[in-house]
Symmetry: D2
Subunit: 162 residues, 4 copies
């Protein structure tokens, strides 16, 4: 997924891109902010984020269980972030602004989430990795773990990219 021949952006420009992606993802995508998602790591081979439990993310009041919708929203959002990072690698000759601009043309085609265990706990971690990055379609796989590294949910999503 590296553009071998293309001039690689400087480390300062890479930092600008990482900061811009983080700002966009945590704050400008307002629903991510409502969920309280925070970026943990942005790497070409995968990205991570954290979701802290709070009362209004509860789905099942009897158990204080994380709502399935909060899980699927987190995994969808993180899949998109993984693809943005991969697009930044693929187009390593582009400025941070040019890469960010690509987000404007990206859209989720579909999402599947498997809910494996109850989401009970105070803090969750989500990971996403790109499984395909073509000229038109990108695909990602995602996982949500609780604070004991127990697998709570897995997901897969496809996106239109350009």
């Amino acid at each position: 997924m590296t553009a071998a021949a293309a001039p690689r952006r400087s480390s300062a420009e890479q930092r600008r891109l990482d900061d811009a992606l983080t700002l966009m993802w945590e704050q400008r995508i307002r629903f991510n902010q409502l969920l309280g998602l925070k970026v943990l790591s942005l790497q070409p081979d995968g990205v991570s984020a954290r979701l802290d439990m709070r009362a209004d993310l509860v789905g099942h009041y009897s158990y204080g269980r994380l709502h399935g919708g909060a899980i699927s929203a987190t995994l969808d959002a993180l899949g998109g972030l993984a693809l943005m990072v991969a697009l930044g690698e693929k187009h390593a000759d582009e400025s941070a602004d040019q890469v960010i601009h690509r987000f404007g043309r990206m859209g989720t085609i579909d999402l599947r989430v498997d809910f494996l265990r109850q989401g009970i706990g105070s803090r969750f971690t989500a990971h996403a990795a790109v499984t395909r990055l073509g000229g038109r379609i990108g695909s990602t796989q995602m996982r949500l773990l609780d604070e004991h590294e127990l697998l709570i949910a897995t997901g897969a999503a496809s996106f239109v990219v350009s």
Copy 2:
């Protein structure tokens, strides 16, 4: 899906059940409340709810587009509600409390959402219908429409029931 031989609950008790389901779904499931979901209709052959657009449900700041995660959360939640109503029909001899108690043993197994068109508008309507209600597994299909009845997304989910 009707329990032919079983004594049917009274219309007063049915109203109690509908009110209890609405209260549970709109308020006690706190994440539904955060989304602002409102029940429109509870029928054995399908349920509807409404989701009003607001700034913190935005996914794509350039277009003010509804976040995919808000769509998938809405469809997941509505699938569960359709199944609760169907369980109420199947167990028509049970009190409202007994039916509500069944929610405590229900869980989403998995969810798929297809995002067909951009969610742009001020108000969305979601519909869900039950495609299977067995002794252990329930399945539902869901749709999200914008205010011009344009199909924005479709979904399918399976649930553990008892």
Copy 3:
């Protein structure tokens, strides 16, 4: 999905296209032939095909149940056919050959199948309809019914189109 301004192909050319699609789908796509799929209807608003039960399509020997893989293969194949017909409508100014040529650039992005009831019987009917046909992505919904019109499975698939 009609190309209002474009010259519409003649009914003879439309028949040529329908025949070419049927030949391609039933015979040139060899795995469809192995399954024994037969086109029943090709309409812009949906397509149908038939799958006859036979011993080597069995998944569950105890019950003579249709294999889930035969179901998902049928639904995947029929979704693709529905899109080809829709592409034929969209490009109503193109010859049969030009439309068939578009199949060469089509590919399934992903598929989901919900298995609702056991596939027991001697003959099944599958239906597919297009839910989105954009410039790059097409989406379809599919259903499999048994000979008593009982819903056996539902499916959804997304495709790259051009």
Copy 4:
């Protein structure tokens, strides 16, 4: 997934179980035989099988590409096999016959397949691992690789178990 306290079946009985599972999966599930699936490995942490290309598995005649339906059928079938092996581990006190009998009560709830790259080649390998094994629901993740270990497709499926 081990039943710590239960008496573990003898290695002879384990071999009987592995042979019975292989026979059932390769031959008695007739559609698997039609596909030509062959078991490569049966381990509690995952199973593998092989699918050899041949003319009647082709989906796309222009490229000799493996049909998406053959891919989804393979992944569905392998997910079921992984669960049968996991059930054999969970019920390590049961005879081979008792474990095989559990297959009669197993059924796929749903399946999703992501088609990542074209399936071109002479031989494919599929892997499946169990991500959840509860009392009622089992879930698996699957992958299909070509002979160069390139990832062709990923899948996820849920099953009713008992």
